[in-house]
């Protein structure tokens, strides 16, 4: 009888074990609904052929917000200076064209990604020693300093007038850019897709799991021997690299870059988009950036103040109503301060 009982316990255990392992293994399988944003993006290409400039800008902002999601949504680090890496990427791509004379766009993106990832890595080494209010102020002021550095070396960066007339070579040496931005749109969409797949892979990796651990309980991460600082620095560098790609796309598609990319508004806007769509689930960037851009476009047609007020009201509603979502997460971050 005893043997019977123990064998039935061990078989229930075996079933439960298999089920648990299976659930974890399936976590990152692609689901059919995940095709939706991409179908919508392709549908938009055919449905709104005259809106491709707006469309490209939206895709760029989705990528920018997505990059922020890695550190804010997954690792739980709140920053107000993400525009710094967007800007570094934009200038890297622009200077590559004007000063190096290299105008092939895809290698330009890679170059921008590397430069901004290095910038993220180096600044992260120092910045990520701090949390909370200190980190907010430090990230904010880093971005301001970068902007002023750009202003100081105006011969190089063109100051606030920026670097105009960036001519990028045709895509794959063949597809040239039309006035309506159709090529740009598909280019941005492809870059977003690749970046998204990279990001998704990282988020579901053991490293990504450790980032979530840091968000959930940094004290326990220290106690189980996690090199928390290094984990964060690596995540920050990846995030900065992706933001840099977004910045480079921005420079390439606008054929212009100015020091405005470092504006506080940029950092604030990308944070708003992510909160709007929800941090920590990859698709928040898509929902938030698209909503933000459509509202900006539609409400501003009525009147500019209407847009500002509208987005403010919407944010208040999101933050107050989704306590278990974005806001709860932000609030929780503070509990984990040392």
């Amino acid at each position: 009888m005893d043997a019977n009982k123990s064998s039935s316990i061990s078989s229930t255990n075996a079933v439960a074990r298999a089920r648990a392992a299976d659930l974890l293994a399936r976590r990152d399988r692609y689901r059919i609904v995940e095709a939706l944003p991409w179908i919508a993006a392709i549908a938009a290409y055919f449905a709104f052929p005259n809106q491709m400039v707006l469309g490209s800008q939206t895709l760029i902002l989705i990528l920018f917000a997505l990059s922020l999601d890695l550190i804010l949504g997954y690792a739980g680090i709140v920053t107000l200076g993400h525009a710094a890496y967007f800007g570094v990427g934009a200038y890297a791509a622009a200077l590559l064209i004007t000063d190096v004379g290299w105008s092939e766009p895809i290698s330009g993106l890679v170059c921008a990604a590397v430069v901004s990832a290095i910038a993220g890595f180096l600044s992260g080494l120092i910045l990520l020693r701090y949390r909370g209010l200190t980190l907010l102020v430090l990230t904010l002021s880093t971005t301001i300093m970068l902007q002023q550095l750009g202003n100081l070396f105006r011969d190089f960066t063109g100051g606030y007038d920026g670097i105009p007339n960036l001519n990028i070579a045709p895509l794959f040496g063949y597809f040239d850019y039309d006035l309506y931005g159709h090529t740009y749109y598909l280019y941005c969409l492809a870059v977003l897709l690749v970046s998204f797949c990279v990001m998704r892979r990282i988020v579901y990796s053991p490293f990504g799991q450790a980032l979530v651990g840091i968000r959930e309980n940094v004290a326990r991460m220290h106690a189980i021997g996690s090199p928390v600082h290094w984990r964060l620095v690596v995540a920050y560098a990846i995030s900065a690299g992706l933001a840099g790609i977004a910045g480079a796309l921005f420079a390439q598609t606008n054929t212009l870059v100015t020091l405005g990319v470092f504006d506080f508004d940029q950092s604030a806007a990308v944070l708003m988009m992510l909160i709007l769509g929800g941090a920590g689930w990859l698709y928040g960037a898509f929902v938030g950036a698209a909503l933000y851009m459509v509202l900006q476009n539609e409400l501003a047609k009525i009147s500019p103040p209407f847009w500002q007020f509208g987005i403010g009201l919407l944010l208040v509603a999101v933050v107050l109503l989704t306590r278990r979502g974005a806001f709860a997460r932000l609030a929780k971050i503070d509990q984990h301060l040392p």
Binding site: D28, R201, I202, G208, G213, E216, R220, A223, I224
Partner: protein
């Protein structure tokens, strides 16, 4: 191993450890030596500095003076993570769990950090079969497999307490520091925790803070009594229970608190 000629290195030595917070001396010249495989209890009234001592040993706090020596190696200047990687694990008096993650993911993280699997950012977390298998082994030995896929925050407190221990055990520690492991657990479930501790491999050295004297007498082979940041006395459970000073400062107080 030739134990006759090699001198036995203690698993943990705490030498003249000091910590003051302003004018308050939370640890005053504390000396404790734990031979390998010891089951050592740390008792004392509230505010005696028991948790502070654990924080000093694990590196969560920096001492104002003194040394911590783990298996013969001085680790006083090492970070918390560095000490953990040298075989020290702890549980917390108040649960420190990854509340939004499942029970399995909680233990997964502990193993992933120990084995450096968490350095991998281009692999799927769900396909680390060795990590998952070991995590499930730990859950099974604490009878947590049925809850493996539930978010920790949805478990009753007693079960959460078990997860707290599972995370520490998943570090495969040489030295395990348990800070009131059964605190707040209903007596109907506390036996699970006590059994788990009693079943621990005899190579693991255990330092346990515990208020429940029945538990202390059941688990510990030696007891250190801490009062106001100082070691009042140390001895076997029999010696401690016969010590009048301990009765007056500790056991008596507990009795009053317990009945009052």
């Amino acid at each position: 191993m030739n134990t006759t000629t090699a001198p036995l290195v203690p698993a943990l030595e705490v030498k003249d450890l000091q910590k003051s917070f302003g004018a308050i001396c939370a640890a005053d010249n504390i000396n404790i030596t734990l031979p390998s495989g010891a089951r050592h209890a740390l008792i004392g009234p509230n505010g005696a500095g028991k948790t502070t001592l654990i924080n000093l040993i694990t590196g969560a706090l920096r001492p104002s003076g003194g040394k911590v020596i783990l298996g013969g190696e001085e680790i006083t200047s090492l970070s918390q993570a560095g000490r953990t990687r040298r075989g020290m694990a702890r549980t917390f008096q108040v649960n420190q769990l990854f509340r939004g993650l499942t029970v399995l993911e909680n233990v997964y993280l502990s193993i992933g950090e120990r084995t450096s699997a968490c350095n991998g950012l281009w692999r799927s977390a769900g396909r680390e079969a060795a990590v998952i298998d070991e995590a499930l082994d730990h859950l099974q030995s604490l009878e947590l497999v049925a809850d493996a896929c539930k978010p920790v925050r949805e478990l009753p407190y007693g079960r959460q307490r078990l997860v707290e221990i599972a995370i520490a055990l998943a570090q495969r520690p040489r030295l395990l520091l348990l800070d009131e492991p059964a605190a707040g657990v209903p007596s109907s479930e506390s036996h699970l925790i006590l059994d788990a501790i009693a079943k621990l491999d005899s190579n693991i050295t255990v330092l346990i803070i515990e208020h429940d004297m029945d538990v202390v007498f059941r688990l510990a082979d030696r007891i250190t009594v801490l009062v106001a940041g100082r070691v009042l006395t140390e001895g076997t459970p029999q010696e401690i229970s016969a010590d009048d000073r301990v009765r007056s400062v500790y056991l008596g107080e507990r009795r009053e608190v317990g009945r009052g």
